[in-house]
Subunit: 346 residues, 2 copies
């Protein structure tokens, strides 16, 4: 999407590749909204570290990063010995897979790249195929989000006030985003609407990422504390909710997403406000049978404590925190919970 | 309640009076949980400033602070000219009333003190009556909270997990608190239970004040991001919700409280979890006819932005915030919403 710096507007993808330098280019998301910076990883280990350290986050974005990282590592191999090459590729793969062990997207993306590589007969052919496959993967991610936008824009009517939670925006994908795709498409069509961005404590992705994104695209928006959404719904000031998802169960329709999503779904049901989950097909898990089987990451309490400057120390042993990072909500809790999954099935 | 400093445990009230120094003694709440400090205001202007600057907050606490402040100002008068004295008292009253213009508690408390002063015939008599009335006001506040605790403790059973929002604890009153009163009383009775403190963004009173309070009384507790409550309820990990209130409409039973309370009430209804509002009678407004008539303070956006270090400046004009500070929720949204108001009616 577009970013305006010093008065100049340029298009950026969240994840891209510099073929000449064999570098993965990433928007350094930890600096937003304070600073916009592109980092170029010099080798696949740096790429893996960028995933681990949350320079890049979001399902689509880390999938593409791992795909490019595998191509990057593959292309760094010197020589023509296929056996040595395979061992090298395996090491690259394992390093990138271990970068965020609970995520499935990097592994799926890399498996895709490896499948395409297999048709090459020489090291050089496989290196070229790896890069082409990574590029295809990234372009597919963009195309899926474009489709979500094309279908989802129909939901947005003039004057609507839309709530979103966390960041399922272009920073979470290669471009455009899932929950934001209908917004950006509607904006392009000239529709007027307003977006409320949940702050999304404890990591505040709504306040730091989604609000920044929307500002860059000049979409009318406001940040609200997570506590304020119920109040706004009670007063009839929210017409539509659109969120993304970490995982949707294909068998049951259950949705897992950032902590707080379930709360917004219950509130939307109470107030009969349509609630949409916008995802590409790759988010659907066809194996799991029950939402309660989705693993929930218990993250560090410093994420909660950080906002008010308390650190856990001997002096403050009374500070105790529970910090589940995401949760699932059963389909029965979704009021108008038709997902936009089908929009990516083109 | 008790505070342990350097291994020594001592009892403190949130608001107290030093007769010899004619000073109001306040726990400096803005420093919590980092530092425990008692400030002594030297004159009524300093007392008014302490209310304005949020050194002290909470309905009962600022009521008592204003009552003591009026006595403090009254006692500072030198001379016996009744007419000059009345003008002086009026100036003190107006200064304290203007300290937090939207709050009704300081005005109610000071009217109470003035009523008692009226039976004095000399300046000296009225000065003595003012102090006695302020002390009575503070002691009454404590007694009401004790009664809430006595009745409310029956709600707490062994093994229960209780959610509370914001701070309706002893720091919001002279002592004991309203929402916390049942917890402290149950603790004294030897019951075992666990408390989840909502962080309560944007000002985070749950994380900074309630958690600190509970730690001082050695009540088992954890801080959670406001987003986590629905997740815990969905998993059956919350058995009871107790909150305080800024204002309850006597005519309709509607409750106004810190932003986010309504959300928790809707979630509790969804999961059939009992939801109690613990208040002294002074919180009941017998005049207003509709909850939607309760004025909602739109507070400064810096409260929302502060947590992630963004300030509004020329460079960051894209940062927009909506920050309503409290809201009302209609009685029909309260599931088992019997209030504990009656417990203070003794």
């Amino acid at each position: 999407m577009n970013v305006t710096l010093h008065g100049k507007t340029r298009h950026y993808r969240t994840v891209a590749f510099d073929t000449a330098k064999n570098a993965v280019l990433l928007i350094e998301q930890r600096l937003l909204p304070h600073e916009f910076k592109i980092v170029a990883t010099r080798d696949y280990r740096e790429t893996a570290r960028a995933i681990t350290d949350m320079v890049v986050r979001g399902a689509g974005a880390i999938g593409a990063t791992a795909a490019y990282g595998l191509a990057q590592g593959t292309r760094a191999f010197r020589g023509s010995d296929l056996e040595k090459f395979f061992r090298h590729v395996e090491a690259v793969y394992q390093t990138l897979a271990a970068a965020r062990p609970t995520a499935v997207d990097p592994v799926n993306a890399m498996n895709d790249v490896r499948r395409h590589m297999a048709s090459g007969e020489t090291v050089a052919e496989q290196q070229a195929l790896a890069l082409a496959a990574a590029e295809d993967f990234a372009n597919e991610d963009v195309r899926h989000c474009e489709e979500i936008g094309r279908h989802g824009a129909k939901l947005i009517r003039n004057g609507m006030r839309v709530l979103t939670h966390c960041n399922a925006g272009w920073l979470a994908f290669v471009d455009i985003g899932s929950a934001t795709a209908p917004l950006y498409a509607a904006q392009t069509q000239g529709k007027k609407f307003h977006v409320f961005c949940d702050e999304t404590r404890p990591r505040s992705q709504g306040a730091t990422l989604t609000a920044w994104e929307l500002a860059q695209q000049k979409v009318s928006h406001q940040i609200i504390a997570d506590n304020a959404a119920g109040h706004l719904m009670q007063r009839g000031e929210i017409d539509l909710v659109i969120v993304g998802s970490d995982r949707v169960l294909g068998r049951t329709g259950e949705v897992a997403n950032k902590i707080g999503t379930y709360t917004k779904a219950v509130l939307a049901a109470r107030h009969e406000i349509p609630f949409y989950v916008a995802i590409p097909l790759s988010t659907i898990d066809w194996n799991l049978k029950r939402g309660f089987d989705i693993p929930i990451e218990d993250r560090h309490e410093s994420e909660v404590l950080g906002a008010w400057g308390v650190t856990k120390s001997g002096k403050r042993e009374y500070v105790r925190v529970a910090n589940p990072s995401s949760h699932h909500h059963a389909r029965r809790h979704l009021p108008s919970g038709r997902t936009l999954a089908a929009t990516a099935r083109t």
